[in-house]
Symmetry: C2
Subunit: 345 residues, 2 copies
DNA sequence: TCCGAGAATCAAACCGGTTAACGTCACCAC
DNA sequence: GTGGTGACGTTAACCGGTTTGATTCTCGGA
């Protein structure tokens, strides 16, 4: 492979010299912030093209005090990230709006609270103009912290205290109630729930909705969204003297693991045990029985969060956005009689 | 929420003034590139602490000509990203080494070839010092392109032409041969393979290994790694006059979809049909039957790629790294008799 | 004829760091 | 004394853009 003779990247000065103008003119020609004659513009563009000039992102960032990037700090254990079906889709949604705005996405994984603070400080030091905060906790410390750092921000989830940031909320309670109603319609009376960690806002909301619908916390268990915990909580529930006939999981990963466990001990699904998940993992429609779940459209969530953040950075005031992107997917894992719902293609 | 009076971020100049020294001294005190007396250092650090000074990433990037960031451009359809189990784990591995090096990760999703080129140019314009290239194609255009842009790089996968970049390779052929041997040992003679898109290097390698072991391409089908294609290819294979008794899939997503399809038409697994996947999705060990597959340790791959890239950026010469991270996981989906292999905890 | 306005461009300051070159001063050997 | 050396700081240039305040030129109107 021919070792390149280090082409010495051209700068705006080189372009200006080649076009016979000054740096300022080149800048104006591209930004359009001052009128430049068509003739000069043409010369400038030609020179830039010929030199293959790319404006330096860091120089521009320094001069404009804009990183032209947004950040996401993931405070999760790498192993959990690996098993997370939400995150990549969310990113895809975010990127779909960033791409057209020429804004980059900076990602950081932080294992500890300390690493997390460092990550946000790094963002604030000029790596990003704003951040999207996921996996909201109740009274999340990040909201005041990020605000004090002078960053723009958007939170995904219900933040109850007054927030300086735009807040993108979804209604997870309604689909939970719908599932319970559906299971009741199928004749179930002992309906259990395997929740996610209850200090997450979304886990909490889902379990509250479950409690409201069922009226008892006898059959409420707390998992951690991982497959192993789905299996273990299921084993515990099924070992009860009066075990549930239906289990509602806070995500599909736990539901699938639970479903498999139930079958491995000889139960039939949905005959002996009805199973429902949450999230609509890409596999859930392709299992047998296909899994009843709630499609949460993470791509759409990503898109809306990114748009809200760009708006915030552009100076628009913070607001609350209510998203309606949850869709109940009734499938075979909760109904003995096949329906002709037809949401599967 | 109290509107902050725009704290006017402190600069190195403010710190210098407060400590009664010049900017250069502050810089040296922190970088240690010139000796500074303990007394002065203490004053500088105190001033920085008091002012909550964070050095500006963009100013530093401009001055040092280093972005202190690396990039990954994902050339995939958002829908496919969403169903990808490899990617988040890989990212987690990458981050685990970046975090300690204070290097950021810039992500870009590019839907088209054109967008992809733009993304790499953006990286080259100072957003990143180097990139990791995934999903290598045979004779991938990105290798010369990225090199010409003056970026550092690492490719994951077997690039056969001489490459200016460090190349991280894995041996996917051996586990494929092992699975075939294992299936033969179970008595199977009609063994099919549902490959991924064959223009990907890794799909190609896997299918070649399959062909070498089986000796016929009668039962080779090409999928796209998505669940739907796993189901459809399976349906086609099982509809053959002389259908296979074992199917080997290029990833777990297709395998799980295929397995479910087989069961939905009344076949038992592994009794009537043995099924094996590739990747060891987080769910695979928790299905019933648990899925025989190959654990590919994407976290480790990410870690090694990131280390190699940082080394390259630091000026070390490119090299080829052979990774041994594939582990065959024999589970119930391919063996009628339960074994006591015990690799499951 | 002279003035004012607007268009097009230039020159220079500025963003916030890093770094090469240079100045001091103290100390030591000869 | 003289010269050399190392430690510690300072000055000023530089990185590659953007932006602001002149400057020049043209043209229309009073």
């Amino acid at each position: 492979m021919p070792q390149l003779p280090s082409p010495a990247k051209p700068t705006i000065g080189d372009v200006a010299a080649k076009a016979g103008v000054t740096k300022a003119t080149v800048s104006h020609a591209f930004s359009g912030r001052r009128p430049i004659s068509e003739a000069t513009k043409a010369r400038v563009f030609a020179a830039a093209e010929e030199l293959q000039w790319l404006p330096s992102a860091s120089a521009r960032a320094l001069a404009t005090r804009r990183a032209n990037a947004i950040g996401i700090v993931l405070a999760r254990d790498p192993e959990i990230i690996a098993s997370d079906t939400f995150f990549p889709a969310f990113i895809a949604g975010v990127e779909s709006v960033l791409a057209t705005a020429e804004v980059a996405l900076v990602l950081q994984v932080a294992g500890s609270r300390d690493a997390e603070e460092r990550a946000y400080r790094a963002m604030a030091s000029g790596r990003a103009d704003g951040v999207i905060m996921l996996d909201l906790h109740r009274a999340d410390w990040r909201v005041p912290y990020v605000h004090q750092l002078g960053l723009h921000g958007v939170v995904l989830g219900a933040y109850d205290a007054p927030s300086p940031f735009t807040c993108v909320r979804t209604d997870d309670a309604t689909p939970m109630a719908e599932i319970v109603a559906h299971l009741r319609g199928e004749g179930h009376t002992r309906i259990a729930h395997v929740a996610g960690p209850l200090d997450y806002v979304h886990s909490h909301v889902r379990s509250q909705a479950y409690l409201a619908a069922v009226g008892s916390e006898d059959l409420l268990a707390e998992g951690d969204f991982g497959a192993a915990s789905g299996r273990d909580r299921t084993a515990e529930l099924l070992a009860l003297p009066d075990p549930p006939t239906a289990i509602l999981y806070a995500n599909d990963t736990m539901a699938i693991a639970g479903l498999s466990y139930a079958r491995s001990i000889g139960l039939s699904v949905p005959g002996d045990l009805a199973v429902a998940g949450f999230d609509d993992d890409h596999l859930s429609a392709h299992l047998s029985p296909a899994l009843t779940t709630v499609a949460t459209d993470p791509i759409e969530r990503g898109r809306v969060c990114a748009e809200a953040l760009l708006a915030d950075i552009a100076g628009e005031p913070a607001r609350t956005i209510q998203l309606d992107c949850n869709r109940l997917q009734l499938r075979a894992s909760t109904q003995v009689q096949p329906t002709l719902q037809g949401e599967e293609r």
